[in-house]
């Protein structure tokens, strides 16, 4: 059996899932426009940038174990 990942990194991994997937009714709208983009598109683009950050933190945690 593979060693299960740490609870902390699983919790971290849930952040992008919540932000981009489960919370869709909260951010799927046009206003407010950010940098001229509709809000939903801006939100996704922001999280495309933030997800590697979250993964980077998870990488450090998993590496220590």
């Amino acid at each position: 059996m593979l060693k299960r990942p740490s609870t902390f990194s699983i919790l971290l991994a849930l952040i992008p899932f919540c932000a981009m997937c489960f919370s869709v009714p909260l951010w799927d709208r046009v206003d407010p426009r950010v940098f001229g983009l509709p809000f939903n598109l801006f939100w996704i683009i922001a999280w495309l940038g933030l997800t590697p950050l979250v993964l980077g933190i998870m990488y450090r945690i998993e590496k220590k174990r």
Binding site: M1, L2, R4, C21, V24, R33, P38, I44, I45
Partner: protein, 487 residues
């Protein structure tokens, strides 16, 4: 030179350059099955990144995404989201899978099931189903390729000859260089595609509207509500979005994606690759911008898949269209090649060998795989020439199918309780439920993606049958005590 000739020569030049790279990539390496299918497990971070990006950034990403935003609007955001979230799944299971792959010589998805559960019938079912879904995906690539070349050459090259010629070339370099050839063609393709995405994603909004912001302002005014869900549709709602993202983020179940994990030189490379993968979504965002521009500049096209090419043809000089045509052709050829290669290896190792001659040597298996390349390519080509489904329609069926492999993979890695019967019946239940919903036109089913409904049936059946059936020894722990001698 007429505009058609100009565009056509650029397309031809690009495809020829790509094909040369493909044919020469593995020139000085012994091409055994291990090198052919998993590049001798020797690719570093950058090459793995390019391979995985090459697989995920397909014709669908160019024509399908712009086509969806054109005909459906907001729901297209699901693509950007699932491709990113899929990396999180790979982050967790990738390194462990790679380690098992090296230890037990796994090359395909079928190998995994055969070794973990020691069940040839299960592995064969996975193999056959995998080949089937890969052929659907391949058909999508070929259809997209035909469209691109036809439009980009100003109808100078018909869809059929374009599809036939490029399919032959793809099969050729798959045979000649295996997965390493595909990786190197992908390098050229990636450079071109990023350039194309920049030109269309930034150029089109600036030329026609004076900027990206003004373009959206105009679009929101012209089509209020189009950019949020359900956009131009009635049934692609938020529940559809959530369920589809969940299903598609299991793209680990794609046999070619699964197999490319083994091409990395170590498990850490797989994990670091997952971290940087979301950056590859930037070109896709640009394609979304281009699709929005098409919606305003070239409204009323019957086939949304043609929207991007139509607007480019109205805006730029023919050679730009030629570059897009060439890059687009490579975008179909790279994933197409990897899909052919994976389907052929799956067929040879996990269907033909156990079924026809279990004693087949590694060399002969490689030979069978190469013959299978021809057969699989021909089937996909015939389907592509004779069917009229849109690109998205094909992809949705295929994703609903491949996600059914994933419970067996993940539970197989982390749980002792799952049994081979459980996995088999779960998978079949998933196929049956998702398939019957899709073919009776009930996808989405009450706002939920049919693949997701199938996945629920799959997991429930898997757990129930596993509880009732005899425990299956884990082939990764008790090596040697298995009914199968060789994987």
């Amino acid at each position: 030179m007429s505009e058609g000739t100009e565009a056509l020569s650029v397309i031809f030049g690009i495809v020829a350059a790509g094909s040369c790279i493909g044919f020469l990539a593995s020139k000085r390496r012994a091409l055994n099955l291990e090198e052919w299918a998993v590049a001798g497990r020797g690719l570093g971070l950058i090459l793995v990144w390019i391979l995985l990006a090459g697989e995920t950034f397909t014709t669908f990403s160019v024509l399908g995404i712009s086509g969806w935003i054109y005909s459906r609007g907001g729901p297209i955001l699901y693509v950007l989201v699932y491709l990113t979230l899929a990396q999180i799944v790979v982050f967790f299971v990738g390194p462990g899978l790679w380690e098992l792959g090296r230890k037990f010589g796994l090359q395909t998805l079928g190998d995994f099931f055969a070794k973990r559960y020691g069940d040839r019938f299960l592995a064969m079912t996975v193999g056959l189903a995998g080949v089937f879904f890969l052929i659907l995906y391949l058909q999508l690539q070929l259809t997209g390729l035909g469209l691109i070349v036809e439009v980009a050459s100003f109808e100078r090259v018909g869809r059929t000859p374009a599809m036939v010629c490029s399919t032959v070339v793809v099969a050729g370099f798959v045979l000649a260089s295996g997965v390493r050839g595909v990786v190197w063609v992908s390098v050229l393709k990636d450079f071109l595609l990023v350039a194309v995405a920049l030109v269309v994603g930034i150029g089109l909004p600036y030329i026609h509207f004076g900027g990206i912001g003004p373009m959206f302002t105009e679009l929101i005014k012209a089509k209020p509500g189009y950019l949020t869900m359900p956009g131009g549709t009635t049934n692609l709602t938020h529940s559809w979005f959530i369920s589809t993202v969940c299903v598609n983020s299991l793209l680990l179940g794609w046999p070619h994606f699964f197999g490319s994990i083994f091409t990395a030189k170590d498990g850490d490379t797989v994990r670091r690759n997952a971290i940087i993968m979301p950056f590859y979504m930037i070109p896709l965002i640009l394609i979304v911008f281009a699709g929005c521009a098409a919606l305003l500049v070239a409204p009323g096209l019957p086939n949304g898949d043609l929207a991007l090419l139509a607007v480019v043809r109205r805006t730029f000089s023919p050679w730009v269209l030629g570059v897009i045509g060439g890059a687009g052709a490579l975008t179909a050829m790279v994933p197409g090649a990897i899909q052919i290669l994976t389907a052929a290896t799956l067929f040879a190792k996990n269907v033909y060998r156990p079924l026809v001659s279990p004693e087949l040597s590694e060399e002969d298996t490689a030979l069978v795989a190469k013959v299978a390349v021809g057969g699989i390519t021909a089937v996909a080509l015939c389907l592509a020439l004779n069917s009229s489904t849109t690109l998205v329609g094909l992809l949705i069926v295929a994703y609903s199918g491949i996600s059914q492999f994933v419970p067996g993979i993940i539970l197989g890695l982390y749980s002792r309780r799952v049994t081979s019967r459980g996995v088999l019946f779960g998978m079949l239940a998933g196929f049956a439920v998702a398939g019957s919903l899709i073919f009776t036109h009930q996808d989405p089913f009450h706002g939920i993606n049919a693949g997701f409904v199938g996945l629920v049936a799959n997991v429930v059946t898997l757990l129930a049958v596993s509880r009732l059936s005899r425990p299956t020894p884990n082939g990764f722990e008790s090596s040697g005590a298995l009914p199968i001698r060789r994987i």
